[in-house]
């Protein structure tokens, strides 16, 4: 199933249509009738309290889970009809987790190469690209360090470099500053700003913090599994940034 991929506001990257997710045979409703549009190059924050369903929404947008009903369209294509979701995630998406989830036995440079195993890049090119990405997040000096020898802020930078490994179309970040103090959290958000500004990358950030959400162009608010405010898309903001 495909659909139109642009409207008067620009090119639609992700659109959800009547998205619902329930658990335990319908006893728990995590998301209910969520209709949402995210444009290419947009920096969006999805905000809500704990248990509001925002992480469930991110999982559905990231093809990590299937909706109970409804559809997610990515570049006009239905995820439910996509033949290879692993490949889709590897090629189109970059994930940043609250707890970083770096492999503890690998150095920063090796961690960044992990997603590239699916891209069939030759080893030398993989290493060179991982170095470039670590340089881009200011971690060149730490490339041989294990995660245990990095500060939490540095670990998140490495995780962001890993998320960028396969040149994703969109970066999905789940509470990326949740485990960071305000200074390092701010540095990570500066990095997101830079990625958005310099690479025109689409960013979808899940947060419960107003200060984090305010860095985005648009704030989508979610409460009890329902979209309560989809925010206003302003292409001018995109152009200004």
């Amino acid at each position: 199933m495909t659909e139109t991929t642009s409207n008067e506001n620009g090119e639609i990257l992700i659109r959800t249509c009547g998205l619902c997710k329930t658990y335990r045979d319908g006893a728990v409703t995590a998301l209910s009738d969520v209709n949402l549009t995210i444009y290419r190059g947009e920096y969006v924050a999805i905000m809500g309290r704990s248990g509001s369903g925002k992480s469930t929404l991110l999982n559905l947008l990231g093809a990590l889970d299937q909706p109970t009903s409804g559809e997610v369209f990515f570049e006009g294509q239905s995820l439910s009809r996509m033949p290879d979701l692993d490949r889709f995630r590897a090629e189109k998406l970059g994930f940043v987790f609250q707890s970083f989830h770096l492999l503890p036995t690998l150095t920063a440079l090796e961690n960044v190469q992990i997603p590239m195993f699916e891209s069939r890049l030759p080893r030398a090119r993989r290493v060179a690209k991982a170095r470039e990405l670590l340089a881009a997040v200011g971690m060149s000096e730490r490339e041989t360090h294990l995660p245990s020898r990095l500060s939490v802020g540095e670990r998140q930078r490495v995780a962001i470099a890993r998320a960028l490994a396969n040149d994703p179309v969109v970066l999905l970040a789940d509470e990326p500053t949740g485990n960071l103090d305000s200074r390092t959290g701010s540095a990570v958000l500066d990095l997101f700003d830079r990625l958005h500004r310099e690479r025109g990358m689409t960013l979808v950030v899940i947060t419960h913090g107003q200060d984090v959400a305010e860095r985005a162009q648009r704030i989508i608010r979610i409460k009890d599994g329902r979209l309560v405010d989809a925010g206003v898309y302003d292409s001018q903001v995109l152009q200004k940034s």
Partner: protein
């Protein structure tokens, strides 16, 4: 970073556990390699002795389970000698008895004719072969002589009769190093088996088409009949096939395989346990790998590669240990008489192949389980 580097890092994460798992596999492979080498050594030793004597066919009574119970009329030798292509027929009577008051119950006794070609595979370390004029004379295999503490000139008691040791020998057939040889007629009298032999060993004349000639002789022997036209019930087998069909060799092989199978099952359970633990501990990591786009097949490859690495490392340890064990055992008096000193390349190859099967079997379930993890659930795992 190579994919193998990731495997290596994962194995080093729990060094002691990985090492112990490999050692467990190593013990299993050592048992497999050592037992296979020993049983193969038996077979090679026995076959080598026949081949060194130039024996092409061994004739026994058809249908007997154990060749000691084979009983043939020695006058048949004349009929066999008259068959086309047959160069010579050697007679042998085998039986067993306890030697005097020693603890050696069931010592194999061989009855050979004085001028038998069977002596050609013996090397005398002291004394001489049997002579026609000898009465109650015996030759002892070196290992048997050592166990009995006998030398040339001493006497041994065979079924309550005194026999004088006139020679001590080593044989290409390691089994024969634990045997005693007496004249055919004396053994027939001793065992109350007059005119009987257990086997005829035939040499076929050399020719350009000898294998065809051997087959023709074999067929002719098996179709021999008595005066009433009834088949004599003889079984003629090429030496190699005869050796592999003997009860001792079949038991040795069966024991080796059964013990190996048990060891391998234990080894596979060890790997299975380690890999299940490893997958359980890394559930969240595997969830991350799946989330960032790793296919299920790559996760399977990762876990299987880890279990294969453990089992192949174990196989290397096992083969080296088995080689050392066999060497040490073969240098001892008790086992050295019938043990090979080296592990054949084919056994090493088989052990390595088994380790690969072991790794795949032990790693398959954990690998499939890891690949089946749903990223969202795995990421929530504590």
């Amino acid at each position: 970073m190579r994919f193998s580097t990731l495997i290596w890092h994962n194995l080093l994460r729990r060094r002691l556990r990985s090492a112990l798992t490999s050692v467990g596999v190593g013990v299993a492979i050592m048992a497999v390699a050592a037992l296979l080498a020993i049983s193969r050594g038996f077979e090679e030793s026995m076959a080598g002795a026949y081949e060194s004597r130039g024996i092409d066919l061994v004739v026994v009574r058809a249908g007997v389970a154990e060749r000691l119970t084979s009983s043939l009329d020695q006058r048949l030798a004349d009929r066999l000698r008259k068959l086309p292509f047959v160069e010579d027929v050697v007679l042998e009577l085998r039986d067993q008895a306890s030697l005097g008051d020693s603890a050696l119950v069931g010592t194999p006794l061989l009855g050979w004719e004085v001028n038998s070609q069977l002596y050609e595979s013996l090397t005398f370390t002291s004394g001489r072969p049997l002579k026609k004029s000898d009465r109650h004379a015996v030759l002892l295999g070196e290992a048997l002589a050592e166990r009995l503490g006998k030398q040339v000139g001493d006497t041994v008691e065979l079924l309550l009769q005194e026999f004088r040791v006139v020679g001590i020998f080593t044989s290409r057939n390691r089994f024969e190093n634990l045997t005693a040889v007496v004249q055919l007629q004396e053994l027939q009298e001793l065992m109350d088996r007059p005119g009987q032999v257990t086997s005829f060993q035939l040499k076929v004349r050399d020719s350009a088409h000898k294998s065809l000639d051997v087959e023709a002789v074999r067929a002719a022997i098996e179709s021999l009949t008595d005066r009433q036209g009834r088949k004599l019930g003889l079984l003629a087998q090429p030496t190699r096939r005869f050796v592999t069909s003997t009860l001792q060799i079949r038991i040795a092989h069966a024991m080796a395989w059964v013990t190996s199978a048990i060891a391998l099952v234990i080894g596979a359970i060890g790997i299975l346990n380690t890999m299940i633990m490893s997958v359980l501990e890394r559930t969240r990591e595997i969830g991350v790998l799946r989330a960032i786009g790793w296919r299920k097949s790559r996760v399977v490859r990762m876990i299987l590669s880890e279990s294969l690495a453990l089992s192949v490392a174990g196989a290397v340890v096992g083969v080296v240990s088995a080689a050392t064990l066999v060497k040490v055992l073969s240098s001892t008096h008790r086992a050295g008489a019938f043990l090979t000193q080296e592990i054949p390349a084919a056994v090493v190859g088989r052990a390595m192949l088994m380790s690969i099967v072991l790794g795949l079997v032990g790693g398959l379930y954990p690998a499939l389980r890891a690949a089946a993890l749903r990223p969202t659930e795995a990421l929530r795992h504590d």
